[in-house]
Amino acid sequence: MSISEETRIAAHSPAAQSELPPALEASGISKAFRTKRSSLQVLDNVSLTVQKGEFVSIVGPSGSGKSTLFHIIGGLVKPDTGTVHMNGTEVTGQQGHISYMPQQPALFPWRTIEDNVLLSQEVQGTVDKETREKARYWLDKVGLGGFEKAHPHTLSGGMQQRAAFLRALLSPQELMCLDEPFSALDALTRSDMQRWLLDIWEESRRSVLFITHNIEEALLLSSRIYVFSGRPASVLQTVDVPFPRPRREEIIEHPDFIKLRRELSGWMREEQRKMHLQS
Protein backbone atom coordinates (compact mmCIF):
# COMPACT_ATOMS: atom_id res chain seq x y z
CA MET A 1 0.00 0.00 0.00
CA SER A 2 1.40 3.41 -0.88
CA ILE A 3 1.57 6.27 1.59
CA SER A 4 -0.81 8.48 -0.33
CA GLU A 5 -3.42 5.76 -0.24
CA GLU A 6 -3.07 5.44 3.50
CA THR A 7 -3.53 9.13 4.15
CA ARG A 8 -6.55 9.31 1.91
CA ILE A 9 -8.18 6.47 3.75
CA ALA A 10 -7.42 8.05 7.08
CA ALA A 11 -9.10 11.25 5.94
CA HIS A 12 -12.17 9.26 5.02
CA SER A 13 -12.41 7.14 8.13
CA PRO A 14 -15.70 7.60 10.03
CA ALA A 15 -13.81 8.84 13.11
CA ALA A 16 -12.44 11.84 11.23
CA GLN A 17 -15.90 12.83 10.11
CA SER A 18 -17.97 12.04 13.16
CA GLU A 19 -18.85 15.71 13.73
CA LEU A 20 -20.51 15.98 10.31
CA PRO A 21 -24.19 15.08 10.14
CA PRO A 22 -24.71 11.60 8.61
CA ALA A 23 -25.39 11.31 4.87
CA LEU A 24 -28.57 9.46 5.75
CA GLU A 25 -30.46 9.03 8.96
CA ALA A 26 -33.75 7.17 8.81
CA SER A 27 -35.49 6.94 12.15
CA GLY A 28 -38.56 5.03 13.27
CA ILE A 29 -39.87 4.25 9.80
CA SER A 30 -43.09 2.23 9.65
CA LYS A 31 -45.23 1.55 6.63
CA ALA A 32 -48.34 -0.50 5.96
CA PHE A 33 -50.04 -0.93 2.62
CA ARG A 34 -53.79 -0.83 3.01
CA THR A 35 -56.44 -2.11 0.70
CA LYS A 36 -60.18 -1.94 1.43
CA ARG A 37 -60.21 -5.33 3.12
CA SER A 38 -56.81 -5.78 4.67
CA SER A 39 -53.66 -4.05 5.76
CA LEU A 40 -50.16 -5.40 5.21
CA GLN A 41 -47.49 -4.15 7.59
CA VAL A 42 -44.27 -3.98 5.59
CA LEU A 43 -41.85 -1.94 7.72
CA ASP A 44 -41.92 -1.79 11.50
CA ASN A 45 -39.95 0.96 13.26
CA VAL A 46 -36.82 0.76 11.10
CA SER A 47 -33.93 3.06 11.94
CA LEU A 48 -30.58 3.18 10.23
CA THR A 49 -27.69 5.54 9.60
CA VAL A 50 -25.14 5.97 6.83
CA GLN A 51 -22.18 8.19 7.73
CA LYS A 52 -20.45 10.21 5.03
CA GLY A 53 -18.16 7.98 2.98
CA GLU A 54 -19.52 4.82 4.54
CA PHE A 55 -20.64 1.64 2.76
CA VAL A 56 -23.67 0.21 4.56
CA SER A 57 -25.62 -2.89 3.58
CA ILE A 58 -29.07 -4.19 4.34
CA VAL A 59 -29.52 -7.95 4.17
CA GLY A 60 -32.79 -9.71 4.72
CA PRO A 61 -35.04 -12.40 3.31
CA SER A 62 -36.56 -11.56 -0.07
CA GLY A 63 -39.96 -9.97 0.10
CA SER A 64 -39.22 -8.35 3.42
CA GLY A 65 -39.87 -4.79 2.30
CA LYS A 66 -36.32 -3.66 1.63
CA SER A 67 -37.28 -2.08 -1.68
CA THR A 68 -40.15 -0.25 0.04
CA LEU A 69 -37.59 1.28 2.38
CA PHE A 70 -35.69 2.55 -0.67
CA HIS A 71 -38.87 4.00 -2.11
CA ILE A 72 -39.40 5.84 1.17
CA ILE A 73 -35.82 7.13 1.27
CA GLY A 74 -36.15 8.18 -2.37
CA GLY A 75 -39.41 10.00 -1.64
CA LEU A 76 -41.63 7.85 -3.88
CA VAL A 77 -43.64 6.60 -0.89
CA LYS A 78 -44.53 8.47 2.30
CA PRO A 79 -43.92 6.53 5.55
CA ASP A 80 -46.76 6.18 8.06
CA THR A 81 -44.43 7.18 10.85
CA GLY A 82 -40.77 8.18 11.03
CA THR A 83 -38.49 10.66 9.32
CA VAL A 84 -35.67 10.70 6.78
CA HIS A 85 -32.81 13.15 7.29
CA MET A 86 -29.95 13.73 4.86
CA ASN A 87 -26.94 15.81 5.84
CA GLY A 88 -28.89 17.15 8.78
CA THR A 89 -32.00 18.36 6.94
CA GLU A 90 -35.33 16.59 6.85
CA VAL A 91 -36.24 15.28 3.40
CA THR A 92 -39.11 12.89 4.23
CA GLY A 93 -41.27 12.41 1.13
CA GLN A 94 -39.04 14.59 -1.06
CA GLN A 95 -37.64 13.28 -4.33
CA GLY A 96 -34.31 13.99 -5.95
CA HIS A 97 -32.02 13.68 -2.93
CA ILE A 98 -30.45 10.30 -3.71
CA SER A 99 -28.68 8.72 -6.61
CA TYR A 100 -30.20 5.37 -7.35
CA MET A 101 -29.42 2.10 -9.03
CA PRO A 102 -32.40 -0.20 -9.50
CA GLN A 103 -32.43 -4.02 -9.65
CA GLN A 104 -32.56 -4.08 -13.42
CA PRO A 105 -30.23 -1.65 -15.17
CA ALA A 106 -33.22 0.36 -16.53
CA LEU A 107 -31.00 2.09 -19.06
CA PHE A 108 -32.95 4.12 -21.59
CA PRO A 109 -32.71 2.19 -24.87
CA TRP A 110 -32.88 5.32 -27.07
CA ARG A 111 -29.92 6.95 -25.36
CA THR A 112 -26.30 6.14 -26.01
CA ILE A 113 -24.31 4.76 -23.10
CA GLU A 114 -22.68 8.14 -22.52
CA ASP A 115 -26.04 9.95 -22.50
CA ASN A 116 -27.46 7.29 -20.20
CA VAL A 117 -24.63 7.71 -17.75
CA LEU A 118 -25.20 11.48 -17.75
CA LEU A 119 -28.99 11.27 -17.39
CA SER A 120 -29.14 12.14 -13.72
CA GLN A 121 -26.90 15.16 -14.20
CA GLU A 122 -28.98 16.22 -17.16
CA VAL A 123 -32.10 16.12 -14.98
CA GLN A 124 -30.30 18.23 -12.35
CA GLY A 125 -29.10 20.56 -15.08
CA THR A 126 -25.39 20.09 -14.42
CA VAL A 127 -24.11 18.68 -17.72
CA ASP A 128 -21.23 20.59 -19.26
CA LYS A 129 -17.97 19.84 -21.02
CA GLU A 130 -16.28 18.89 -17.77
CA THR A 131 -18.91 16.37 -16.70
CA ARG A 132 -18.79 14.82 -20.15
CA GLU A 133 -15.05 14.40 -19.86
CA LYS A 134 -15.48 12.92 -16.41
CA ALA A 135 -18.05 10.50 -17.78
CA ARG A 136 -15.65 9.42 -20.52
CA TYR A 137 -12.88 8.95 -17.95
CA TRP A 138 -15.07 6.67 -15.86
CA LEU A 139 -16.46 4.79 -18.85
CA ASP A 140 -12.89 4.01 -19.81
CA LYS A 141 -12.10 3.02 -16.26
CA VAL A 142 -14.96 0.53 -15.95
CA GLY A 143 -14.14 -1.13 -19.27
CA LEU A 144 -16.80 0.62 -21.33
CA GLY A 145 -14.33 2.71 -23.32
CA GLY A 146 -15.28 2.63 -26.99
CA PHE A 147 -18.94 2.03 -26.12
CA GLU A 148 -19.77 5.70 -25.46
CA LYS A 149 -21.92 5.95 -28.58
CA ALA A 150 -23.37 2.42 -28.39
CA HIS A 151 -26.97 1.76 -27.47
CA PRO A 152 -27.67 -0.35 -24.37
CA HIS A 153 -29.13 -3.40 -26.17
CA THR A 154 -25.75 -4.03 -27.81
CA LEU A 155 -24.10 -4.55 -24.38
CA SER A 156 -23.99 -7.66 -22.21
CA GLY A 157 -25.87 -7.81 -18.90
CA GLY A 158 -22.74 -7.15 -16.85
CA MET A 159 -21.77 -4.18 -19.00
CA GLN A 160 -25.27 -2.71 -18.74
CA GLN A 161 -25.07 -3.11 -14.97
CA ARG A 162 -21.76 -1.26 -14.93
CA ALA A 163 -23.27 1.56 -16.99
CA ALA A 164 -26.22 1.75 -14.58
CA PHE A 165 -23.76 1.89 -11.69
CA LEU A 166 -21.82 4.70 -13.34
CA ARG A 167 -25.05 6.61 -13.86
CA ALA A 168 -25.56 6.42 -10.10
CA LEU A 169 -21.92 7.16 -9.31
CA LEU A 170 -21.86 10.30 -11.47
CA SER A 171 -25.10 11.66 -10.02
CA PRO A 172 -24.52 14.86 -8.09
CA GLN A 173 -26.34 13.57 -4.97
CA GLU A 174 -24.19 12.45 -2.04
CA LEU A 175 -25.91 9.19 -1.13
CA MET A 176 -26.00 6.22 -3.53
CA CYS A 177 -28.77 3.69 -3.03
CA LEU A 178 -28.14 0.36 -4.74
CA ASP A 179 -31.08 -2.04 -4.80
CA GLU A 180 -29.83 -5.61 -5.30
CA PRO A 181 -27.85 -4.50 -8.32
CA PHE A 182 -26.35 -7.91 -9.07
CA SER A 183 -29.35 -10.15 -8.44
CA ALA A 184 -30.12 -10.61 -12.14
CA LEU A 185 -26.57 -11.68 -13.05
CA ASP A 186 -25.13 -15.19 -13.26
CA ALA A 187 -22.80 -16.31 -10.45
CA LEU A 188 -19.56 -15.76 -12.34
CA THR A 189 -20.44 -12.28 -13.58
CA ARG A 190 -21.73 -11.51 -10.13
CA SER A 191 -18.46 -12.23 -8.36
CA ASP A 192 -16.65 -10.23 -11.04
CA MET A 193 -18.94 -7.30 -10.39
CA GLN A 194 -18.47 -7.56 -6.61
CA ARG A 195 -14.71 -7.31 -6.99
CA TRP A 196 -15.17 -4.49 -9.45
CA LEU A 197 -17.52 -2.56 -7.15
CA LEU A 198 -15.09 -3.00 -4.26
CA ASP A 199 -12.26 -1.49 -6.31
CA ILE A 200 -14.36 1.39 -7.55
CA TRP A 201 -15.70 2.17 -4.12
CA GLU A 202 -12.23 2.09 -2.55
CA GLU A 203 -11.30 4.78 -5.05
CA SER A 204 -14.41 6.97 -4.92
CA ARG A 205 -15.51 6.51 -1.26
CA ARG A 206 -19.09 7.59 -1.76
CA SER A 207 -21.78 7.13 0.87
CA VAL A 208 -23.57 3.95 -0.13
CA LEU A 209 -26.67 2.14 1.05
CA PHE A 210 -26.69 -1.30 -0.50
CA ILE A 211 -29.54 -3.83 -0.49
CA THR A 212 -28.71 -7.48 -1.05
CA HIS A 213 -29.68 -10.91 0.11
CA ASN A 214 -26.21 -12.22 -0.58
CA ILE A 215 -24.34 -12.33 2.73
CA GLU A 216 -20.87 -12.77 1.28
CA GLU A 217 -21.39 -9.74 -0.93
CA ALA A 218 -22.48 -7.65 2.05
CA LEU A 219 -19.54 -8.75 4.22
CA LEU A 220 -17.01 -8.14 1.47
CA LEU A 221 -18.20 -4.63 0.67
CA SER A 222 -19.62 -2.99 3.77
CA SER A 223 -18.47 -1.31 6.93
CA ARG A 224 -21.79 -2.05 8.62
CA ILE A 225 -24.63 -4.47 7.94
CA TYR A 226 -28.22 -4.16 9.04
CA VAL A 227 -29.89 -7.57 9.20
CA PHE A 228 -33.61 -7.26 8.54
CA SER A 229 -36.26 -9.62 9.83
CA GLY A 230 -39.00 -11.09 7.64
CA ARG A 231 -42.26 -9.23 7.14
CA PRO A 232 -42.91 -6.83 8.75
CA ALA A 233 -39.27 -5.87 8.43
CA SER A 234 -37.45 -4.49 11.45
CA VAL A 235 -33.75 -4.25 12.21
CA LEU A 236 -32.83 -7.60 13.75
CA GLN A 237 -29.10 -7.08 14.19
CA THR A 238 -26.51 -4.46 13.41
CA VAL A 239 -23.13 -5.93 12.52
CA ASP A 240 -19.96 -3.83 12.35
CA VAL A 241 -17.65 -5.49 9.85
CA PRO A 242 -14.15 -5.35 11.35
CA PHE A 243 -11.96 -6.01 8.27
CA PRO A 244 -9.56 -3.17 7.43
CA ARG A 245 -9.67 -1.08 4.28
CA PRO A 246 -8.75 -1.18 1.50
CA ARG A 247 -10.06 -4.70 1.24
CA ARG A 248 -9.05 -7.34 -1.20
CA GLU A 249 -11.25 -10.13 -2.37
CA GLU A 250 -9.01 -12.66 -0.56
CA ILE A 251 -10.56 -11.82 2.80
CA ILE A 252 -13.46 -14.12 1.99
CA GLU A 253 -11.13 -16.98 2.95
CA HIS A 254 -10.15 -15.44 6.28
CA PRO A 255 -11.43 -17.49 9.30
CA ASP A 256 -13.09 -14.42 10.86
CA PHE A 257 -14.91 -13.75 7.61
CA ILE A 258 -16.14 -17.33 7.46
CA LYS A 259 -17.26 -17.19 11.10
CA LEU A 260 -19.22 -13.96 10.54
CA ARG A 261 -20.75 -15.36 7.38
CA ARG A 262 -21.92 -18.47 9.22
CA GLU A 263 -23.46 -16.36 11.98
CA LEU A 264 -25.33 -14.11 9.55
CA SER A 265 -26.48 -17.07 7.48
CA GLY A 266 -27.92 -18.62 10.63
CA TRP A 267 -30.02 -15.52 11.36
CA MET A 268 -31.17 -15.30 7.79
CA ARG A 269 -32.19 -18.95 7.63
CA GLU A 270 -34.18 -18.55 10.82
CA GLU A 271 -36.02 -15.51 9.41
CA GLN A 272 -36.71 -17.23 6.13
CA ARG A 273 -38.14 -20.20 8.02
CA LYS A 274 -40.42 -17.93 10.09
CA MET A 275 -41.66 -16.27 6.91
CA HIS A 276 -42.52 -19.65 5.41
CA LEU A 277 -44.42 -20.63 8.56
CA GLN A 278 -46.45 -17.43 8.38
CA SER A 279 -47.59 -17.95 4.85
Partner: protein, 253 residues
Protein backbone atom coordinates in the same frame (compact mmCIF):
# COMPACT_ATOMS: atom_id res chain seq x y z
CA UNK B 1 -28.66 -7.71 -51.13
CA UNK B 2 -29.11 -11.47 -51.22
CA UNK B 3 -30.91 -11.33 -47.87
CA UNK B 4 -33.17 -8.61 -49.18
CA UNK B 5 -34.03 -10.74 -52.18
CA UNK B 6 -34.82 -13.76 -50.01
CA UNK B 7 -37.48 -11.63 -48.27
CA UNK B 8 -38.89 -10.23 -51.48
CA UNK B 9 -39.24 -13.19 -53.79
CA UNK B 10 -42.03 -15.15 -52.00
CA UNK B 11 -44.64 -12.33 -52.13
CA UNK B 12 -43.41 -11.42 -55.62
CA UNK B 13 -44.04 -14.96 -56.88
CA UNK B 14 -47.41 -15.03 -55.11
CA UNK B 15 -48.55 -11.84 -56.86
CA UNK B 16 -47.29 -13.10 -60.20
CA UNK B 17 -49.17 -16.36 -59.72
CA UNK B 18 -52.36 -14.51 -58.79
CA UNK B 19 -52.14 -12.27 -61.89
CA UNK B 20 -51.54 -15.29 -64.14
CA UNK B 21 -54.60 -17.12 -62.77
CA UNK B 22 -56.66 -13.96 -63.26
CA UNK B 23 -55.43 -13.54 -66.83
CA UNK B 24 -56.13 -17.21 -67.66
CA UNK B 25 -59.61 -17.11 -66.13
CA UNK B 26 -60.72 -14.05 -68.08
CA UNK B 27 -59.63 -15.56 -71.40
CA UNK B 28 -60.66 -19.20 -70.65
CA UNK B 29 -64.18 -18.31 -69.47
CA UNK B 30 -64.63 -15.45 -71.96
CA UNK B 31 -65.52 -12.91 -69.31
CA UNK B 32 -66.73 -9.63 -70.79
CA UNK B 33 -64.32 -6.78 -70.37
CA UNK B 34 -66.93 -4.51 -68.74
CA UNK B 35 -67.45 -7.10 -65.99
CA UNK B 36 -63.84 -8.08 -65.25
CA UNK B 37 -60.99 -6.84 -67.43
CA UNK B 38 -57.85 -8.96 -67.61
CA UNK B 39 -54.56 -7.70 -66.13
CA UNK B 40 -53.26 -7.20 -69.65
CA UNK B 41 -56.23 -4.96 -70.51
CA UNK B 42 -55.65 -2.94 -67.37
CA UNK B 43 -51.94 -2.57 -68.14
CA UNK B 44 -52.76 -1.41 -71.66
CA UNK B 45 -55.34 1.06 -70.35
CA UNK B 46 -52.83 2.40 -67.85
CA UNK B 47 -50.27 2.98 -70.57
CA UNK B 48 -52.77 4.64 -72.93
CA UNK B 49 -54.51 6.84 -70.38
CA UNK B 50 -51.48 7.77 -68.29
CA UNK B 51 -51.37 11.32 -69.69
CA UNK B 52 -54.91 12.23 -68.60
CA UNK B 53 -54.49 10.64 -65.19
CA UNK B 54 -51.60 12.70 -63.85
CA UNK B 55 -53.77 15.67 -62.96
CA UNK B 56 -56.15 13.46 -61.00
CA UNK B 57 -53.34 11.62 -59.23
CA UNK B 58 -51.65 14.86 -58.24
CA UNK B 59 -54.90 16.30 -56.84
CA UNK B 60 -55.44 13.17 -54.74
CA UNK B 61 -51.83 13.12 -53.50
CA UNK B 62 -52.09 16.72 -52.36
CA UNK B 63 -55.40 16.17 -50.63
CA UNK B 64 -54.09 12.99 -49.00
CA UNK B 65 -50.95 14.63 -47.67
CA UNK B 66 -52.78 17.70 -46.34
CA UNK B 67 -55.46 15.60 -44.68
CA UNK B 68 -52.95 13.11 -43.31
CA UNK B 69 -50.79 15.79 -41.71
CA UNK B 70 -53.77 17.57 -40.16
CA UNK B 71 -55.27 14.27 -38.99
CA UNK B 72 -52.02 13.07 -37.44
CA UNK B 73 -51.40 16.37 -35.65
CA UNK B 74 -54.99 16.41 -34.33
CA UNK B 75 -54.58 12.80 -33.16
CA UNK B 76 -51.33 13.61 -31.35
CA UNK B 77 -52.79 16.70 -29.70
CA UNK B 78 -55.88 14.82 -28.53
CA UNK B 79 -53.70 12.01 -27.13
CA UNK B 80 -51.42 14.44 -25.26
CA UNK B 81 -54.32 16.38 -23.74
CA UNK B 82 -56.17 13.24 -22.67
CA UNK B 83 -52.93 11.75 -21.29
CA UNK B 84 -52.26 14.79 -19.16
CA UNK B 85 -55.83 15.15 -17.86
CA UNK B 86 -57.10 11.69 -16.81
CA UNK B 87 -60.58 13.04 -16.07
CA UNK B 88 -60.98 14.24 -19.66
CA UNK B 89 -59.78 10.86 -20.84
CA UNK B 90 -62.45 8.93 -18.98
CA UNK B 91 -65.06 11.44 -20.14
CA UNK B 92 -64.11 11.61 -23.81
CA UNK B 93 -62.70 8.17 -24.64
CA UNK B 94 -66.15 6.64 -25.31
CA UNK B 95 -66.94 9.58 -27.58
CA UNK B 96 -63.74 8.94 -29.54
CA UNK B 97 -64.74 5.32 -30.10
CA UNK B 98 -68.25 6.44 -31.05
CA UNK B 99 -66.80 8.76 -33.68
CA UNK B 100 -65.33 5.71 -35.40
CA UNK B 101 -68.68 3.91 -35.50
CA UNK B 102 -70.24 6.56 -37.72
CA UNK B 103 -69.66 5.35 -41.27
CA UNK B 104 -67.54 7.85 -43.16
CA UNK B 105 -69.59 7.24 -46.26
CA UNK B 106 -72.71 8.44 -44.40
CA UNK B 107 -70.98 11.41 -42.80
CA UNK B 108 -69.33 12.74 -45.94
CA UNK B 109 -72.55 13.94 -47.69
CA UNK B 110 -73.60 15.71 -44.50
CA UNK B 111 -70.26 17.51 -44.36
CA UNK B 112 -70.74 18.59 -47.98
CA UNK B 113 -74.14 20.06 -47.08
CA UNK B 114 -72.70 21.93 -44.11
CA UNK B 115 -69.41 23.11 -45.57
CA UNK B 116 -69.97 23.16 -49.32
CA UNK B 117 -67.80 21.55 -51.99
CA UNK B 118 -64.51 23.20 -51.10
CA UNK B 119 -61.42 21.78 -49.43
CA UNK B 120 -62.70 22.00 -45.84
CA UNK B 121 -65.22 19.12 -45.80
CA UNK B 122 -62.71 16.85 -47.56
CA UNK B 123 -60.02 17.62 -44.98
CA UNK B 124 -62.54 16.94 -42.22
CA UNK B 125 -63.31 13.52 -43.72
CA UNK B 126 -59.61 12.55 -43.89
CA UNK B 127 -58.94 13.95 -40.42
CA UNK B 128 -61.79 11.87 -39.02
CA UNK B 129 -60.32 8.70 -40.48
CA UNK B 130 -56.72 9.52 -39.53
CA UNK B 131 -56.84 10.96 -36.03
CA UNK B 132 -58.25 7.87 -34.31
CA UNK B 133 -55.47 5.32 -34.88
CA UNK B 134 -52.86 7.97 -34.02
CA UNK B 135 -54.65 9.06 -30.84
CA UNK B 136 -55.31 5.53 -29.58
CA UNK B 137 -51.79 4.28 -30.32
CA UNK B 138 -50.21 7.36 -28.73
CA UNK B 139 -52.28 7.10 -25.56
CA UNK B 140 -51.51 3.39 -25.35
CA UNK B 141 -47.80 4.02 -25.79
CA UNK B 142 -47.73 6.80 -23.19
CA UNK B 143 -49.58 4.62 -20.69
CA UNK B 144 -47.19 1.70 -21.01
CA UNK B 145 -44.13 3.57 -19.78
CA UNK B 146 -41.66 1.21 -18.13
CA UNK B 147 -42.28 1.24 -14.33
CA UNK B 148 -38.60 0.79 -13.48
CA UNK B 149 -37.51 3.72 -15.61
CA UNK B 150 -40.39 5.83 -14.29
CA UNK B 151 -39.44 5.05 -10.68
CA UNK B 152 -35.85 5.86 -11.50
CA UNK B 153 -36.75 9.25 -12.95
CA UNK B 154 -38.89 10.08 -9.90
CA UNK B 155 -36.18 8.98 -7.46
CA UNK B 156 -33.59 11.24 -9.00
CA UNK B 157 -36.03 14.14 -8.82
CA UNK B 158 -37.10 14.59 -12.45
CA UNK B 159 -39.95 17.05 -12.98
CA UNK B 160 -43.19 16.03 -14.74
CA UNK B 161 -42.03 17.78 -17.88
CA UNK B 162 -38.63 16.05 -17.81
CA UNK B 163 -40.33 12.68 -17.30
CA UNK B 164 -42.49 13.40 -20.33
CA UNK B 165 -39.78 14.57 -22.71
CA UNK B 166 -36.95 12.29 -21.58
CA UNK B 167 -38.92 9.11 -20.88
CA UNK B 168 -42.59 8.91 -21.82
CA UNK B 169 -42.40 10.40 -25.29
CA UNK B 170 -39.35 8.48 -26.60
CA UNK B 171 -40.69 5.32 -24.97
CA UNK B 172 -44.02 5.76 -26.78
CA UNK B 173 -42.44 6.52 -30.16
CA UNK B 174 -42.70 2.98 -31.60
CA UNK B 175 -46.42 2.78 -30.73
CA UNK B 176 -47.02 6.28 -32.05
CA UNK B 177 -45.49 5.21 -35.32
CA UNK B 178 -47.63 2.10 -35.58
CA UNK B 179 -50.66 4.41 -35.28
CA UNK B 180 -49.29 6.85 -37.86
CA UNK B 181 -48.65 3.99 -40.29
CA UNK B 182 -52.28 2.93 -40.11
CA UNK B 183 -53.35 6.57 -40.53
CA UNK B 184 -51.09 6.90 -43.58
CA UNK B 185 -52.87 4.10 -45.44
CA UNK B 186 -56.30 5.24 -44.25
CA UNK B 187 -55.63 8.77 -45.46
CA UNK B 188 -55.63 7.67 -49.12
CA UNK B 189 -58.95 5.92 -48.62
CA UNK B 190 -60.34 9.01 -46.86
CA UNK B 191 -59.27 11.24 -49.73
CA UNK B 192 -60.91 8.98 -52.34
CA UNK B 193 -64.17 8.84 -50.39
CA UNK B 194 -64.13 12.63 -50.02
CA UNK B 195 -63.66 12.95 -53.77
CA UNK B 196 -66.54 10.58 -54.50
CA UNK B 197 -68.94 12.85 -52.71
CA UNK B 198 -68.03 16.10 -54.34
CA UNK B 199 -65.00 17.08 -56.36
CA UNK B 200 -64.04 18.15 -59.85
CA UNK B 201 -60.71 16.35 -59.91
CA UNK B 202 -58.87 13.50 -58.18
CA UNK B 203 -58.84 9.72 -58.38
CA UNK B 204 -62.16 9.44 -56.53
CA UNK B 205 -63.80 11.79 -59.02
CA UNK B 206 -62.23 9.85 -61.93
CA UNK B 207 -63.65 6.60 -60.52
CA UNK B 208 -67.12 8.08 -60.36
CA UNK B 209 -66.88 9.20 -63.99
CA UNK B 210 -65.71 5.78 -65.20
CA UNK B 211 -68.35 3.97 -63.17
CA UNK B 212 -71.02 5.98 -64.94
CA UNK B 213 -69.55 4.85 -68.29
CA UNK B 214 -69.15 1.17 -67.26
CA UNK B 215 -65.40 1.49 -67.91
CA UNK B 216 -64.44 -1.30 -65.54
CA UNK B 217 -60.89 -1.39 -66.90
CA UNK B 218 -60.36 2.25 -65.96
CA UNK B 219 -61.83 1.65 -62.52
CA UNK B 220 -59.22 -1.02 -62.03
CA UNK B 221 -56.55 1.44 -63.07
CA UNK B 222 -57.85 3.80 -60.40
CA UNK B 223 -57.85 1.03 -57.80
CA UNK B 224 -54.28 0.17 -58.72
CA UNK B 225 -53.24 3.79 -58.29
CA UNK B 226 -54.93 3.91 -54.88
CA UNK B 227 -53.08 0.77 -53.80
CA UNK B 228 -49.76 2.18 -54.97
CA UNK B 229 -50.41 5.50 -53.21
CA UNK B 230 -51.28 3.71 -49.96
CA UNK B 231 -48.12 1.64 -50.18
CA UNK B 232 -46.04 4.74 -50.85
CA UNK B 233 -47.53 6.54 -47.84
CA UNK B 234 -46.87 3.50 -45.67
CA UNK B 235 -43.32 3.17 -46.96
CA UNK B 236 -42.62 6.85 -46.34
CA UNK B 237 -43.69 6.61 -42.72
CA UNK B 238 -41.87 3.30 -42.25
CA UNK B 239 -38.66 4.98 -43.47
CA UNK B 240 -39.18 7.92 -41.14
CA UNK B 241 -39.73 5.46 -38.28
CA UNK B 242 -36.60 3.54 -39.13
CA UNK B 243 -34.63 6.76 -38.97
CA UNK B 244 -36.18 8.10 -35.76
CA UNK B 245 -36.38 4.80 -33.83
CA UNK B 246 -33.00 3.49 -34.95
CA UNK B 247 -32.07 2.64 -31.35
CA UNK B 248 -34.56 -0.20 -31.29
CA UNK B 249 -33.03 -3.70 -31.27
CA UNK B 250 -33.64 -5.46 -34.56
CA UNK B 251 -36.26 -8.16 -34.40
CA UNK B 252 -35.37 -11.51 -35.86
CA UNK B 253 -37.45 -13.15 -38.54
Amino acid sequence: MRRWWSHVWPPFVAVLFFLTVWQLCTSLFHIEQWILPSPADIAKQTADGAGDLWGHVWATVRLTLEGFIIGTVVGLIIALILHMIPFLKSALYPLLILSQNIPTIALAPLLMIWFGFGLLPKLIVITLVCFFPVAVATMGGLKQTDRMMLNYMRMIGASKQQIFTKLELPHALPSIFSGIKIAATYSVMGAVIAEWIGADKGIGYYMMLQKAGYRTDRMFVAIMIIVVLSLLMFGLIALLEKWLVRWKPKQEG
